[in-house]
Amino acid sequence: MAAFLRSKCPSVGRTLMGSLGNSLFGAANSSVEAVARPSHCDAISQQIRTFIQMRTNLKVVDNSGAKRVMCIQSLRGKKGARLGDTIIGSVKEAQPRGKVKKGDVVYGVVVRAAMKKGRSDGSEVQFDDNAIVLVNNKGELIGTRVFGPVPHELRKKKHLKILALAEHIV
């Protein structure tokens, strides 16, 4: 099925293939919808959003110096991390003069997840991308600024510093 989709949609993004690959190997029980005729735009927009697992690339949204981090371990959940959880990652791309360098192993808090998270009032929230904020193993922020919207789920997880620095709380 992966090969079939690949042949039909040549310009599909890396994440779709990555998430499908992960679901085939990993323990994630992501429901893959059987798309009868996958048109170009359907395949891209009807992406299956799953957990943040090993090999998931995440965007770093603080000024710690890192740009992209690849998850190597999720510290919560058998299937993977969700919104508000902490992960261990390896820095894949970093700015030249920053607090972290490429190849460092860092902790991070997930501040935006493309997978929907249910709230206690029954609604569900979903963001546009997967983003983290780098943290040390005690839970203190490495960077001093946070960019983009941030959910108020972090309040319950006691990441109050992130909420304080956030531009916009959803």
């Binding site: 009807q46 009032d121 609604s123 929230v125 546009d128 919207p149």
Partner: protein, 166 residues
Amino acid sequence: MRLEKCWFCSSTIYPGHGIQFVRNDAKIFRFCRSKCHKNFKMKRNPRKVKWTKAYRQLHGKDMTKDTTFEFERKRNRPERYDRNLTEQTLKAIPLITKIRHDRLEKHISNRHKPGKRKEMEKDSKELDQDIGMLPKKLISNEVTAEKTKIKVKVVQQQTEDNAMEE
């Protein structure tokens, strides 16, 4: 608790329904059901999708300006609880909804009126012109009687004159 409006179809989203999508520029899109969410992901413009309120109001199908819409404004300041006020508001809400609904129906039936009149005219014209195309059995007895009533008068006096002349 707040009743939101669906970004795509403009219907109310009750608590426990729908999905909120937060874009990276912090704009929140709320959807009432997956139909609207999927249409959004397909990048469809609600102003072009026929069943949405946005399309209908843009193309004059539904009424846009009415005083009943004034009652439903987004209020960010919470009102101090007053039992009387709450009671009156709760009594007024179904009244306002009914009035708005009636006005909307009137607007739509007014919109249909000229079209209906044209249809009637066209139908009656067709009946007059083409009644002969129908088989005789289908046409009612009255109509056949009217049609067959027109008889040509036989002129008998001339033949008598001719006979008399000769």
